[in-house]
Structures are given as C-alpha cells and as structure tokens.
C-alpha cells in the first residue's frame, strides 16, 4: 500500500462559495494521531532546516502522539509567535514539507495541518505559552503590527523586554487582518494570537501614524531599540489607459473593505462596489484571496495572469481551492486597456496574448506580447493584484538608507540608523507571512544581543 498522507476535511466547494467560513476544517484528533504516526522522527530532521523560524517539528509531532497538546504547543511557541497563522498560510510545500524525507517516495508529512491542529487545540483549551520572563527594564518600539512586527514583539517579550507596538490602523495584525480573508484565516484566530502577545505584556497602540504623530527620531530617543516592520503597503497599478475607471480597484482596497471593514457581511457599514464579472489581474496569493472573495460575493470571477499555470506564484493549495470553487483562470494574457463609458464605468477590457520565453537570472520565465493578438473581453470590474511597494510614511524626517527600489537597507537586520532594525516586506519587497516572521524573529535576536 502506498504511504499516503491523511487529508483533512474541507467544506464542499458548492457550499463554501456561498460563505466566508474556513475552507479547511482542520484535523480531528484521530486524523492528527494517524498523520503524526507517519513521521519517522529523523535524528537529523531536514524539515527543521526547511522552516524559516526553525520549529523543532519532530518534537511537536512526538508530543501529539503522546497526546500532550500543551507540550506540543510549547515546542512550537519556542520558535513561532503565530502558530495558528503559520499552519494556515505558510507555503509548506516549498519549505518544511519540501524537505521531508518521506516526500521522496510518497507524500511528505502534513506538517502545516499538524501545526494548525496543535494551535487550535491549544486555543480551545486556553493554554497560553508559559514562557514569560520578568521585565528587564529595556524598552523596544515596534512599528507595524503585521507578521514581522508581531513576531519581533513576541520574541522580545518572552525574554523580558518591554515592547510597545505602533499600528496606524484601528486593529492589529497588518496583512493578517486587512488582507487574508476569513475563509483562509479567520479573524478570531488573529485576535487570539494578538491577545496572547498582550498577555505576554506587549502594549499595542492602534491609530498611531508613525512619521506623522510621532517620528522615528522620537522613537529612537524614547526606546533602547526600534524595529520597523512597516511592510510593503503601497499597491501597484499598471499604468494602462482606463485604470482610473470607477470599477478598477487595488486588491488591497477590495480586501480591506471585505476583511478589515467587514464588507463580507450584509450588515457592513462600509460598502463594497461589486460588478457582475470581474478580472483579477495577477497570480499571487493576494490575487487568489481577492478573486475567491469576490466569487463568494456572487461574481463571475476570473484570474488573468500573463504567464502559465506552472508559474503562478500563489500557494498551490489556494490555486486548487480556487479551481474547485469555479474560478476561471485566463492564462498567458495581459491587459492593455480598460474601456469605459461616459460615466467612467467599465464596459470591457482589451487584453493581449502572451508568449513564454526563456528563464531569466532569477529563474522566472520571460514573457512577450503576441503581436496583433489584442482582443476585447467583457467585464465591469477589474482588480489589480500586481504586488505592492514599500510605504515610507513611517520614515518621514529620517535619513534612513534606502535601496534603489525604495527598500530599507539592512545588515543583519540593522538599518543605517542607530538602534533601528527592520525586517519583512519593508526590507525584502512583497513576500510571504513566514519570511516576515523569520525576519522579525532574527531581528529580535540581534536586538537582544545589541542592547542587553
């Protein structure tokens, strides 16, 4: 018999496209035990090397088998500040699971599903991480409450640092709150993760625009160290004609209205402008989140991506789920013009076919237009999910060194300013939740070394 992984239950696609409840229901105890038993408990675990925050994976799996969830949660908490989040949104197939020795011949261990199981059980049983230390009198400011900031804050608080997070929005979580939709990462999970940080003594100040209400320089004076986890929040547009049409939105705007402002509920006070047929331009996780959200709100929802399915940057699971839900993938196409009527409303879009070329230095295949292949597609809404650039609002009045691309320049997470560290999308450009967490954790370790 083939050594197959245990697949957890998911909501039926026909039903889930009508709600915003979680797609994956998570392992039952029996499923978790069965999957855990597949783990070989390698003495030199490759999976740990594949994990950006180096969770001791075999150890927590062993604890699941021993039915000691509290212990399993503690193992994960030692390395990760956001276990329930990672289990859901990490691209495990490119990280821990890609390294799993079992994956060579059959299915890798479903590490992500097991991690999620542990975190969900821990929350249900109200375990909070017991790793809490006496305050050591050192103060650190964290700017931004996304995955990088939360992880940095959590790592420091566990070592006794007095941490204050500054967040410009009214709710903490950054992209976990405004970006990732309810059906992939329920708000209640993010709230619990934030709450557990507060229990560790982290202070979170929402509604504070650093750069305007308080400057980076003032934070430098007031705190022993500052961590910038300001992310990459500035949405990109294509610069094609018609992009200012009333029906063209950034994925950030659509997701913010739907997630942060509650637009997925009919009772929401913040409106979401819905068309009948939408093209979401792009192929990353944000594009998948936007297109699947809009499908749930009743639209004929399409992805338009300039490369082929092979190159879609989104997490594999999201693409599969999107297909099951009836999202149409229009591949190897790119918009050239958005067509509007006299009221600036969209009546259609001109797109051109694309041809895949050779791989470039980064391993991405180039694309070129197929001359003369321009044609009009019917639609009344277009969402741009083309990635984001860093936002420099928090850096005002500082002369922090930036790269040509506008990214914060760091060496070992240290910026050009005294006692100012940075990590996450603000340093790397738009990337994943887990990479931001890795940076937050490593920066915290650098801070500890520098100021203790």
């Amino acid at each position: 018999m083939k050594d197959e992984k245990v697949i957890g239950k998911v909501q039926d696609p026909k039903i889930r496209v009508q709600n915003f409840e979680e797609v994956e229901l998570g392992y039952t105890k029996e499923e978790a035990l069965k999957e855990s038993a597949r783990c070989l408990q390698c003495p030199k675990p490759r999976c740990v090397q594949g994990c950006p925050v180096s969770i001791m994976i075999p150890n927590f799996i062993k604890a699941i088998l021993a039915e000691d969830i509290e212990k399993a949660y503690e193992v994960i908490s030692e390395s990760s500040s956001l276990p329930a989040v990672c289990g859901r949104v990490c691209p495990q197939e490119k990280q821990c699971e890609a390294m799993c020795i079992k994956g060579l011949k059959g299915d890798a261990i479903s590490i992500g599903s097991l991690e999620r199981y542990v975190a969900d059980q821990a929350y249900q049983n109200n375990f909070i991480s017991t790793i809490k230390k006496e305050k050591n009198g050192k103060k650190v400011a964290v700017v931004g409450s996304g995955p990088a900031g939360l992880t940095c804050a959590g790592t420091l608080a566990k070592k006794g640092y007095d941490v204050t997070i500054y967040e410009v929005l009214h709710k903490a979580g950054g992209v976990l709150t405004y970006g990732i939709p309810e059906f992939r990462l329920p708000q209640s999970i993010v709230e619990k993760e934030v709450e557990s940080l507060e229990k560790l003594g982290v202070r979170i100040l929402t509604d504070v625009p650093v750069g305007n209400a308080i400057t980076l320089k003032e934070l430098q004076e007031e705190y022993d160290a500052v961590f910038l986890g300001t992310g990459a929040g500035l949405p990109k547009f294509m610069g094609i004609p018609g992009e200012d049409a009333n029906g063209v939105f950034s994925a950030n705007e659509i997701l913010t209205r739907i997630n942060l402002m509650g637009g997925f509920q009919k009772s929401s006070k913040t409106p979401v402008k819905l068309g009948k047929k939408v093209y979401v331009i792009g192929g990353g996780n944000v594009a998948m989140d936007a297109v699947r959200s809009l499908k749930r709100l009743g639209l004929d929802a399409h992805i338009l991506y300039r490369r082929s399915e092979e190159e879609l940057p989104a997490r594999k699971m999201e693409v599969e789920h999107a297909k099951e839900e009836g999202i149409v993938f229009d591949l190897l196409q790119n918009p050239t013009k958005i067509i509007v009527d006299e009221n600036n409303n969209i009546t259609g879009m001109e797109v051109v076919n694309m041809i895949l070329g050779e791989e470039d230095a980064d391993g991405r295949r180039s694309v070129t237009k197929e001359e003369g292949s321009e044609h009009i597609v019917d639609c009344d809404m277009v969402v741009m999910a083309l990635g984001t650039d860093p936002n420099h609002e928090a850096l005002k009045e500082s002369d922090i060194a930036l790269s040509d691309r506008g990214l914060i320049v760091v060496e070992d997470h240290k910026t050009s300013l005294d006692n100012v560290y940075a990590g996450g999308d603000a340093v790397t450009g738009a990337a994943t939740v887990i990479l931001a967490m890795e940076a937050g954790k490593k920066a915290a370790q650098e801070i500890i070394e520098a100021i203790s």
Partner: protein, 284 residues
C-alpha cells in the same frame, strides 16, 4: 476610545465635534486631516482638522450629514471608537510660511470648505501674514463659524447663490474682480467650485492650491481608493495630498470617481432611516 466633549449642530445638518485626541493633533499642521470611526463596525470617515487645542489635547471637527455614516457620527454622545491622525501632507504655505513672505494670498472656501480654510488662515495670521478670504455658500442660513473666520481674515468677502448675504453669485465672481491683487489662491470646497476657481486662475496665471476630498479607506497609502490624476499621473490624496496644484488636477475624473458608491450609499441610508424610524416607533 476617544472622549467626545461636544457634538452639536451648528446649522441644519452641519455639526461641530470636539474630541480628546492628543496624539492626533500634537504635531498637526493645518492642511492635515484625521480619520474617525464612530463605533467599532463603523465606516472610516476622513475629516479635516479644523481647529485644535494642543495644551488640552482637543481636536475640533466640522462635518456635514451626507449619508448613513455621518448620520451615525451625529448621534455620538460620549466617545468615538477611533481617531487617527494627523494624516496627509500639511498645506505648503503653513509648513514653510517664510518661503511665502510678501506673497499676496487669497483663500476661497465653498460650503463646509470653510472648515479646512479656517485653521490655515488662523495659522498664517499668527505668523504675521494678512490673508483675504472669500467664503461662498448657497444661502445665508448655511454660514458657519463666521465670527471665528472674521477674527483671523484680513479682508473678508461673502457670496451667496441666492443673494441672502454678501455678493449674490459665486466665489469666482468676487475672485475675478480682485484677481490682480493676488499671487496665490488656495481653494477648498466642492470639486466643481475648485474646478471653476482653477480655470479662472489659470487664465490669469495665478498659482492655485486645491484640497481634494476623494473616497478614502485607510488613509495611509494602502488601498489607492483616493487616487486622483495630477498632471496625468495617479496620486494618492491620503499621502501625496490632500492638496495639489489646481492647474494640474483632473477635476472631471475626480467628480466621476466621487460617484462610485452612490447607489450603495443611498441604499445604506435608506436602511438606516428605516431603522431609526423603527426605533422611534418603539420608543413612542
């Protein structure tokens, strides 16, 4: 939570709110704005910082009821769920008044546009500058903070569409007569007014600053809802503005983009009115 000190109707459907929000105003310079939320599930509403008391940490706001969310704001008695600010760039003259020494400046306010105009004129007077103000409304019963603006303006002109106060006509009528007296015009009010002023000043080659009021969500550069076209390029009013060169703004596009949520807004307001009526009938 932010303590509300006062929330009263000045004239029909136009309110003044005073709220304790020291963080939002400590560093504020006229031209900047805040975003407020009445309750946790409310819409985020951008409003100009129209006055402040930095010692007491008080923020002064003026708003007009235009839909369900501002209606909800008008019902707030004790506290606001959210106030974030200061947002946006300060007015360029207020940011660096020395640069504008000797320049003859005229401010033009249309309707509740007097709210953002007032703090700028007040601030510049404190810097020793004489600022003329043209304030236009549809009818005399819509005039607000008249005493306050008169205290800080050098020369004050009023216009009403119906002639019930000041000159009968539009702000542009008064401006055209006096345009030779000015080097710079700052116009804040309805898009259509800012457009007319900018067309007039362009003819006379007088530098003009306008303050855009597009639809906004986060106010921190994250969503792009507020994009305006300036010199053919998209600019975010929340972080690149809200003030722009009036001779470079595409006002027609801005007008169309203000209509994006018109149907949804109308529906929400209808729902809310029904709800309010039901509440009244329960009480009655």
């Amino acid at each position: 939570m932010f303590k509300v000190i006062q929330n009263k109707e000045l004239v029909k459907n136009c309110y003044e709110m005073i709220v304790e929000a020291p963080m939002a105003i400590q560093k504020a310079i006229p031209g900047q704005f805040v975003i407020v939320m009445a309750k946790e599930d409310s819409e985020r509403i951008p409003l100009t910082i129209y006055d402040y008391d930095k010692e007491k940490g008080l923020l002064y706001l003026i708003y007009q009821i235009v839909g369900a969310s501002t209606e909800e704001l008008s019902k707030v008695k004790e506290e606001l769920f959210g106030v974030v600010g200061p947002l946006g760039k300060p007015n360029e003259i207020c940011k660096d008044p020395n640069e504008y020494e000797g320049k003859r400046i005229c401010y033009i306010a249309g309707g509740v546009g007097i709210a953002p105009v007032y703090p700028q004129v007040k601030y510049l007077k404190e810097q020793g500058m004489d600022i003329d103000v043209i304030y236009g409304v549809r009818s005399a019963n819509q005039l607000i903070i008249q005493k306050k603006i008169e205290e800080v303006a050098h020369q004050m002109y009023y216009t009403t569409d119906d002639g019930t106060f000041g000159t009968k006509g539009f702000v542009t009528d008064v401006l055209e007569k006096n345009i030779k007296n000015y080097d710079i015009v700052v116009a804040i009010g309805p898009v259509i007014m800012m457009k007319s002023v900018s067309e007039l000043t362009k003819k006379h080659n007088v530098k003009t600053i306008v303050s855009m009021n597009p639809i906004m969500v986060d106010g921190s550069g994250m969503c792009g809802a507020c994009r305006c076209e300036v010199e053919g390029k998209p600019k975010f009013a929340c972080i690149d503005g809200p003030e722009f060169d009036g001779h470079k703004v595409d006002f027609d596009l801005a007008l169309k983009r203000l209509n994006i949520y018109k149907e949804e807004e109308k529906e929400k307001w209808e729902d809310m009115k029904t709800l309010l009526q039901e509440e009244v009938s329960y009480e009655g």
